[in-house]
Structures are given as structure tokens and as C-alpha cells.
């Protein structure tokens, strides 16, 4: 995939300014500015505890920041409005969210669970297209074969794909995906990110959290690297996937290779050269760098 275009004329659809969040007395986010644009896949990366999920919750409207604000393009002209001032139903027509952990309290079938993604459009003209949209979302996530099965008996990866299909079925201009690939095998990892990429190509705004830096490098227009509640790098994969930067942020030596025959970047941990004892840090020691090894 190409690096971020210099052409930044795509409209901003989701933006947060100077976001500070405190949870239990600890400052999790320490002044984050982030703008997401339509047509772009933005990948949010960073070590455990960097604040990725907190920032994600703020952008999704789940968490009100202590200071700062989040605005979303609320009408056809792309005028930005404060997320907290928009009714849940209208917000649900603007952005779809896939959470990391998708559980169902009752034994709905996979199909019924994907159909729930159509709920925001009940009573509109869009309702007519429900069946076609649900089927196409399930085809894209390869969950058609699971349609009649009850979600609680599915495996973790299958449940994640059903949740992804539900987010697709919502057909919103903004897609927020929190680790959609965490439980997936290599084929479905690629397919999920590629599908999100397709949506972006059609004009959607996509924000994805992943831990696999090589996956991020392959599909992102833009990578935002978070560390300790701050954005430490924001740019094209070529700019952000820098061995020195990543080694320092993740506190583990990594190297960045070019995949043979492409300009894709592969982030590989340098095993055996790890620091003898993990440096004291907020991050759990045995974390992300190893996962970067695709």
C-alpha cells in the first residue's frame, strides 16, 4: 500500500483536541490532538498502557475527556459538531465501533447478531436494504457459514469476525476498530484489514488499533504512535516505522526490514539482544514486540 498522500485535502471527519483523561487518579492521556480524514486508514499503535484504548473510547464517545473535546462531521457538508451533543441514534449513523471483547448475554445466532448492526437505520429508507447489506457484510468477513450458529458457542476469532461484520453492516462513514485482528488467524487478519482498507477507498474514515506493526505498515495510510499518553509519532509508515524510535518506545530492540520485492516494512524484534532486566516502565514487560513478528 502507498504511504500517506501528501494530498491532505480529504475532509476531516473526526477530530480531538487537547484531550486529557484521568482514570483512578492516573493521567492516561496527556493532551492528545488527532484528526482523522475520510479515505484514510489510520492505525493506532503503542505499547500496553500507552492509552490506545482510552483514546479509542474518547473518540467513540464512550468516555468524556477531563479537558478537550471530540468533534465529528455531523452533516453532509462535513461541519464538525461536539460528539457529546449528538443523540446516540444519530451518532450510530455516523460511526460504527468494534470493541476488543465482544460477548453476547444470550444465544443469538451469528446472523441475528450481525443484523443488530442495522438497528440505527430502522424506520429509514435504508431498512429495505437490510438483507443485502447483512449478507454482504457476512461475506466480507467470511461469516456466512456461521450464520445459523449461536454466537456463544463460536470461537474467539469467529466471534471477532461476527463483530466486524456487525460494524460493517452499520454502513457508517467512520469505522473505529479496536484490535479487530487480535484473535484472528493470518488469513482473516489480512482480510479484515483489507476490507477496512476497501471501505476507506470508498471514502470511509477508518481508525484501527493493532499490535502487529508489520500489519500496520502494510495497510496504514498513517500510523499514530502513542506512548505514555502522548502522540510520539504521527505520519506515514515510512516515517513512523523507524527502528530507533520503536526500540525506544517499546523498550525492546527491533529492526525494520523491507519485505522482498515491495516497499512494505517489516518490524522484527532482535531476539537475544533484549535488555537483561526489563526497565521499570508502565508497560508490561513481555508485550508487543514479539507480536510484531508476523
Amino acid at each position: 500500500m502507498s504511504a500517506a498522500q501528501d494530498d491532505r485535502r480529504n475532509p476531516v471527519t473526526l477530530a480531538c483536541e487537547d484531550v486529557h483523561v484521568e482514570l483512578g487518579g492516573t493521567e492516561i492521556l496527556r493532551g492528545i490532538d488527532l484528526t482523522l480524514r475520510s479515505g484514510e486508514v489510520t492505525v493506532l499503535v503503542g505499547p500496553n498502557g500507552a492509552g490506545k484504548s482510552t483514546l479509542f473510547a474518547v473518540l467513540a464517545g464512550d468516555l468524556a475527556p477531563r479537558t478537550g473535546r471530540v468533534r465529528i462531521a455531523a452533516d453532509a457538508d462535513g461541519r464538525l459538531e461536539d460528539v457529546s451533543s449528538i443523540r446516540p441514534l444519530l451518532l450510530a449513523r455516523m460511526r460504527a465501533v468494534q470493541m476488543q471483547d465482544s460477548r453476547l448475554s444470550f444465544a443469538f445466532t451469528a446472523r441475528a447478531s450481525v443484523e443488530m448492526g442495522r438497528a440505527p437505520w430502522v424506520g429509514t429508507d435504508e431498512e429495505e436494504r437490510d438483507d443485502a447489506v447483512v449478507e454482504s457484510a457476512m461475506r466480507a468477513s467470511e461469516t456466512l457459514a456461521l450464520a445459523g450458529q449461536q454466537v456463544p458457542v463460536l470461537s474467539g476469532g469467529e466471534r471477532a469476525r461476527v463483530a466486524f461484520a456487525r460494524a460493517l453492516a452499520q454502513e457508517t462513514g467512520i469505522l473505529l476498530l479496536d484490535e479487530p485482528t487480535a484473535a484472528l488467524d493470518i488469513r482473516h487478519q489480512e482480510r479484515v484489514i483489507a476490507t477496512a482498507r476497501e471501505r476507506a477507498a470508498q471514502g470511509a474514515t477508518v481508525l484501527v488499533i493493532v499490535h502487529d506493526l508489520s500489519l500496520a505498515g502494510a495497510y496504514a495510510d498513517r500510523i499514530v504512535l502513542l506512548s505514555d499518553g502522548l502522540v510520539v509519532a504521527d505520519g506515514s509508515p515510512a516515517e513512523v516505522l523507524d527502528a530507533a524510535l520503536l526500540s525506544s518506545v517499546y523498550d525492546y530492540p527491533v529492526t525494520v526490514l523491507n519485505a522482498p520485492g515491495t516497499d512494505e516494512r517489516l518490524v522484527v524484534p532482535l531476539r537475544g539482544r533484549a535488555p537483561a532486566s526489563p526497565a521499570p516502565s508502565l508497560d508490561t514487560p513481555s508485550s508487543t514486540p514479539l507480536e510484531a513478528n508476523a
Binding site: 455531523a74 453532509a76 462535513g78 470493541m99 430502522v122 462513514g173 474514515t205
Partner: protein, 383 residues
């Protein structure tokens, strides 16, 4: 594709409130769609038909059973005469009509109303707690309502006339629901252990209040209090029906509004909000409905536990968890269950009216036990 599609792609307003359309699928026509549907939902018409037939038979049976024997044909005649206002002829017929219209029919209607209220209250509570084991009787809402009702009786409150008791029960039920809800829930879900422990605590406090009221009360009020704790439909009158019926019918009608959001709530609170559900409003509305339905039932019949647990659970096994079927089916099947249970309770032992709460607990207790074991074995353990 079956739906008429507008094939022209929508103008590029990806951020606006118009959907960003995926390219329409290029696969074969949607021939497999029916088989992809939840096959359990197809059983719903059969379930409703069966329940309706059982309901009609149950009314005849309940009318015909009792110390004064009346044939089912006479029951039908009496219903006809009552509905059309035709005068009766003959002392025997008049006596039968009087028995039916003054004693048995109000009790039948009350059983139907209370059964619906308890079953729907249970289904709603399970939905809002995200836990199939939540039930007003188990978590203490019923005993909270009963405790408040006892206070009303012993203190002889009549501020709101015949509604005072219901209003008192409602306040108690609502308070108990609020306590359980704020204690037992975390992140939109409730763990079974927490739920049951909270139920123990609430039941203990409510039991203490009931005990205190028993201690303070006169002989007459004590008798009433005992009746509350056991649960019985004995002594149902049309005046009671006149108070209970509007409450239950309005609540049942309102459940139609919450059915779809309740489905979404089973994803958890945040995902439901992401799909446009105003979760705060929904859960407050549902909790108030649970409290109203439970208190209406408790105020007139005392604590009848487990109906709200067994009925929704069995319906979920038959027609699946979708609330648009679950809620009306619970109303109907709860009514049928309580009608039969009550008829058994008053005819099983000659010249004695068994407390129906005893009967439902006798069946419901072991069923609860089975559910706990099953849930524990299931994926996710105690959740």
C-alpha cells in the same frame, strides 16, 4: 437481491448521516437467506397457538373445578350470559353463575394478569442485567415489595385508597431493584455469584422488615402478612382486578417499545450505545417497569417466585432469545402457567387452598439449581 436497490452510489458524504455503502455483493442471488434465519423463530407461531389453546382450556378447567362442581358447558354458558347480560333461569344456574362470576372468574383473571406480570418482569430483568438467572423473586424485588406492603398494612395507611397497597409495594420493589442494580452490575453485566449474594442481602433486610411488622402487627394483620410470604390468589375480587389490570396491560403494551433495544443490550452497554440505544433511558425505563409489574403482582398475591425465571428460560430454548418474541410469549405463557398452577393449588387437596408460592417454588427451586449448574458449565463460567 430481493429488495429494490438504488444502484447509484451515494455521493461522497462518508461522514454524514447517510450510510456509506459497501459495493453490492456480486455473489449468487440470496437464495439461502431463509435457511440463514434463526430456525427457532419459526416455532413462534406454534408456541403462541399452543399457549392460546391451553389458555382457553385452562379457563374452562379452572371454571369447572372446585368444591361446587360446574360442567365446562355451564362455564361456557355463564361466560356467554355474562358477556351478553342475558338473565339466567333456574336456581341451580343462578348459583353456578354467581360462583363463577364472583369467585372463580376474578381469580382466573388475576392468575392470568399476575402470571403475565411475573414472567415479563423476569424476562425484562434478565435482559437489563444481561444474565439469564436474574429474577424478581431471587434478587429480592418481590420481598422488597412485600416488606413495603406489610408496612402499609400494619401502619394502616390509606392515603391513596385502594391503590395505597400497590403504591407501597411499588416503592419497596423499586427501592430493592435500585439497590440490586447498583450493587450487582458491572460493565453492563452481572455475575451470577454477585447477583445471588445481593439477593441474599436484599432478602435478609426485607425479611427483617417483614418480621418487625409481624411483631408489631395485630392478629389480623399478621395473618395478612403470612399470606404475603406464601403467595396465594385466594380472595381475588373484581376490585383487585380493576387495579391490577390497567397496570399490567399498560406495561405489557410498553414492552413493545423496548424489545429491539433490549436485543442490542445483550451485546453489552457500550456496544448497544454504539448502535444508537440511549442506554441510560432504556435501563431506567425497564427497571421501573420491572418494579411496577412485580409490585402489582406482589400487592395482590404475595410472593410467587420462579415464574419469571422458568418461563422466559423455556421460551428462549424454544424460540430463541429475540425479545420481540420473548416478551409477548412470556406474557402469554406466564399467564397460562399461573392459571394451571393456581387451579392445581386450590384443587389438589380437598377443602384446602395450597399457597401457590409454595407450588411454584417447589418446581422452580430445582429448576434454578439445574440452571446454575448448566450456566457454570457453559462457556464463560459464572457470567
Amino acid at each position: 437481491m430481493t429488495a429494490p436497490l438504488r444502484l447509484a452510489p451515494s455521493p461522497a458524504h462518508p461522514s454524514s448521516a447517510t450510510p456509506a455503502r459497501a459495493p453490492e455483493s456480486v455473489g449468487p442471488a440470496d437464495a439461502s437467506a431463509p435457511s440463514m434465519r434463526d430456525h427457532r423463530a419459526r416455532r413462534a407461531p406454534w408456541l403462541f397457538t399452543l399457549a392460546a389453546v391451553l389458555l382457553a382450556l385452562g379457563v374452562l378447567w379452572a371454571g369447572a373445578s372446585g368444591q361446587f362442581p360446574i360442567s365446562p358447558a355451564q362455564v361456557l354458558d355463564a361466560i356467554w350470559r355474562g358477556a351478553t347480560g342475558t338473565a339466567t333461569s333456574g336456581d341451580q344456574t343462578r348459583l353456578a353463575d354467581a360462583t363463577l362470576w364472583n369467585v372463580r372468574f376474578p381469580r382466573v383473571v388475576m392468575a392470568l394478569l399476575v402470571g403475565s406480570a411475573l414472567a415479563v418482569g423476569g424476562a425484562l430483568m434478565q435482559g437489563v442485567f444481561g444474565n439469564p438467572l436474574a429474577e424478581p423473586g431471587i434478587v429480592g424485588v418481590s420481598s422488597g415489595a412485600a416488606a413495603a406492603a406489610c408496612i402499609v398494612i400494619v401502619l394502616g395507611l390509606t392515603v391513596l385508597g385502594s391503590w395505597t397497597l400497590v403504591a407501597g409495594a411499588f416503592v419497596g420493589g423499586l427501592a430493592a431493584t435500585a439497590v440490586v442494580y447498583s450493587t450487582a452490575r458491572q460493565g453492563g453485566r452481572t455475575e451470577v455469584v454477585t447477583l445471588v449474594l445481593t439477593g441474599i442481602a436484599v432478602n435478609a433486610v426485607a425479611g427483617a422488615i417483614i418480621a418487625l411488622m409481624t411483631f408489631l402487627g395485630t392478629n389480623a394483620t399478621r395473618e395478612q402478612i403470612v399470606f404475603w410470604q406464601l403467595g396465594s390468589l385466594n380472595g381475588s375480587r373484581w376490585v383487585h382486578v380493576a387495579v391490577a389490570a390497567p397496570i399490567v396491560v399498560v406495561c405489557l403494551a410498553l414492552t413493545a417499545l423496548v424489545a429491539r433495544p433490549m436485543d442490542l443490550l445483550s451485546l453489552g452497554e457500550k456496544p448497544a450505545r454504539h448502535l444508537g440505544v440511549d442506554v441510560e433511558r432504556l435501563r431506567i425505563g425497564v427497571i421501573v417497569m420491572v418494579a411496577i409489574l412485580t409490585s402489582a403482582a406482589v400487592a395482590f398475591t404475595g410472593i410467587i417466585a420462579f415464574v419469571g425465571l422458568v418461563v422466559p428460560h423455556v421460551i428462549r430454548m424454544i424460540t430463541g432469545p429475540g425479545h420481540r418474541i420473548l416478551l409477548p410469549a412470556s406474557a402469554l405463557c406466564g399467564a397460562v402457567l399461573l392459571l394451571y398452577a393456581d387451579t392445581i393449588a386450590r384443587t389438589a387437596v380437598a377443602y384446602a387452598d395450597l399457597p401457590i408460592g409454595l407450588l411454584t417454588s417447589l418446581i422452580g427451586g430445582p429448576f434454578f439449581f439445574y440452571l446454575i449448574r448448566r450456566t457454570r458449565r457453559g462457556a464463560g463460567g459464572w457470567s
